[in-house]
């Protein structure tokens, strides 16, 4: 466990090396110290590169990866489905729709609390979708897994139709919308991190507080009730917590696939199914993985152009998931 935390810390520091400008270890250290010594005062180029640009981006990719993997683990338990991920119940589609609306109306450049309006719009879209999904499940008789998945599919389908509509109405915004949906950390900084962090912290706290209940819910709602879980309450908080994690992540990064699906699986295979461990380890494994994926996205093209990190995770995630399926063998063949 300690090793994992240490590895994550090491990754955060090591990732500072990678970027368009080549810096020595000494220069990186100097930039870090300059950044830590005074808030925003210094305009020293080393400080700007290392602290303002690189460190913020490394940290944001780490917490986003952690949040996605944790949310994925929570959703898989909540929906009792190993194929669920943070996007299953449509929250991400809501974020994409919010972002698309902002792009469509040309508001993406508008300043708001020191960052563009885009993440705010995406976050509002995600939360509105969550509220709509919860309202829809009321019609289906509560927050059971079937009604949640169905309501999520309804929301996601409807919203993706609306996004397509926006795209077809304004061809100029198409590439911006598509690029945003693919997910990237390009140009994200401290403002984005500070915006997302409180919601992520709240989401982590909620999901973490109900980790043991998640174990019991994985047996089915009725079993969990027999064992003493207040099922509606636990499901509600877990849903809100995991959705907050997803919404905050998607708002700042766009839709980054596979992290929330693959890493909970990997952690479960290595460390077992208990959610106290699963959630904690998923956070660090997912965070570290996304951090390095982002480094790859920045450096993999020889000319120094960036790939959207969503492309990298999908590129590696697909085969990775295939390998997990091979290892797990026939377990998913159904009842």
């Amino acid at each position: 466990m300690l090793l994992l935390v240490f590895l994550s810390l090491f990754s955060v520091v090591a990732a500072l090396w990678f970027g368009r400008t080549h810096l020595s270890a000494q220069e990186i250290l100097q930039g870090l110290l300059l950044g830590l010594s005074g808030p925003g005062g210094s305009d020293h180029p080393l400080k700007v590169i290392v602290f303002d640009l690189r460190l913020s981006r490394v940290l944001i990719s780490f917490v986003c990866g952690g949040a996605l993997a944790t949310a994925g683990a929570a959703f898989q338990g909540l929906l009792r489905n190993p194929l669920a991920d943070p996007f299953t119940i449509g929250v991400a589609s809501g974020a994409a729709f919010g972002a698309s609306v902002a792009i469509f109306f040309g508001l993406s450049g508008t300043g708001f609390l020191g960052l563009g309006l885009l993440p705010v719009a995406a976050f509002i879209g995600a939360l509105a979708t969550l509220a709509a999904v919860i309202a829809l499940t009321k019609l289906g008789g509560g927050l059971g897994k079937e009604s949640l998945i169905l309501a999520g599919i309804i929301a996601a389908t409807f919203l993706s139709a609306l996004i397509s509509l926006l795209k077809s109405l304004d061809e100029e915004s198409v590439s911006n919308i598509v690029f945003w949906i693919m997910g990237s950390f390009q140009g994200r900084g401290w403002g984005h991190l500070l915006f997302a962090l409180p919601y992520m912290a709240a989401g982590l706290a909620m999901v973490g507080a109900f980790a043991r209940e998640l174990d019991l819910l994985a047996l089915g709602d009725e079993e969990a009730m027999y064992l003493g879980v207040d099922v509606p309450r636990a499901r509600f908080f877990l849903l809100i917590g995991a959705s907050l994690l997803t919404a905050a992540t998607v708002a700042v990064s766009g839709i980054i696939g596979f992290v929330g699906l693959v890493f909970p699986h990997m952690v479960r295979m290595i460390w077992g199914a208990r959610h106290t461990r699963l959630l904690f380890f998923s956070f660090f494994v997912g965070g570290t993985a996304l951090l390095w994926s982002d480094v790859a996205a920045k450096t993999i093209l020889p000319q120094g152009e960036e790939l959207p990190v969503g492309v990298i995770t999908a590129l590696f995630g697909g085969p990775f998931f295939f390998a997990i399926m091979r290892i797990q063998g026939g377990k998913w063949r159904g009842p």
Binding site: D215, A218, L219, Y226, V231
Partner: protein, 268 residues
């Protein structure tokens, strides 16, 4: 412990149980019998408080069962369902430990004491060799034993078993019921839905027969295991004869064309 009065309940508009009266005292073993779809599992759900009565009352320790807070209710009754599934690879010990949830404080983990209880329960059902095996790698019967161990370490005075032993081999069935009998002597009560009439007659103090949602018969095995009652309820020819060693009534079924071949009647 349990008082059921004039219970009507079901799912949505479909009424499954009608006018059920039943009371379960401390230290008894009650067997619920009846054909498929007669409402046995629904009765278990009503007692466990998962299902709210449409009419009538189900009192658990003097308070309507469905109004107990989940955690407090789980300290009063444990339940083993007829089919359990584990979708995630918990180890057997982790799965049994979940039975201790109701005894732990919110936000706190399981204590050493809880762990000891879980280990003891696994040992009690003879599954301690499996403690670190993932539950999803076990056979159906072994999984059922894990579920029974989980219910035991829940430490509730009342255990509800919904065909919990149906998938076990005969030796395990006997072992489990012997264990329950021992726990019964310590004051625990059991309500077991059963299809095995002979096992029910051997172990239960009170048999309740449900037919088409209504109480068809209730009483000690000697009264309920009556060819007329059972033939009426199950629609099959039955022969009742005393157990050669214990003397309790045992049922023998015969193919439906036996009547034409020679006739069937009570031998008791």
């Amino acid at each position: 412990m349990i008082q059921i009065q004039g219970l009507h309940c079901g799912y949505g508009n479909r009424e499954v149980l009608r006018s059920i009266d039943l009371s379960v005292d401390a230290g008894v073993m009650v067997g619920i019998l009846g054909p498929n779809g007669s409402g046995k599992s629904t009765l278990i759900k009503a007692i466990s408080g998962v299902l709210r009565p449409a009419r009538g009352t189900v009192l658990l320790d003097g308070r309507p069962a469905h109004t107990w807070p989940a955690r407090q209710r789980a300290r009063r009754l444990a339940c083993v369902s007829q089919r359990i599934s584990f979708d995630f690879p918990f180890t057997c010990l982790e799965a049994v430990l979940m039975g201790r949830y109701a005894h732990t404080a919110a936000l706190k983990g399981y204590s050493r004491h809880d762990l000891e209880k879980a280990e003891a329960a696994l040992e009690l059902v003879g599954m301690d060799a499996f403690r670190h095996r993932p539950v999803d790698s076990l056979s159906g019967g072994e999984m059922q034993m894990v579920a029974i161990a989980r219910a035991i370490c829940q430490d509730a005075p009342l255990l509800l078993l919904d065909e919990a032993t149906a998938s076990l081999d005969i030796a395990r069935k006997i072992a489990v019921f012997d264990l329950f009998k021992e726990m019964q002597r310590e004051g625990r009560s059991f309500v077991c839905v059963m299809h095995d009439l002979n096992l029910a007659a051997m172990y239960c103090d009170l048999l309740v027969v449900i037919h088409a949602g209504e109480l068809a018969a209730m009483g000690p095995p000697a009264d309920v295991m009556d060819p007329a009652v059972l033939s009426g309820v199950y629609g099959a020819q039955v022969l009742v004869a005393p157990h050669p060693l214990l003397g309790v009534p045992q049922v023998h079924f015969s193919p439906s064309d036996t009547v034409t071949r020679g006739g069937v009647s009570s031998c008791s």
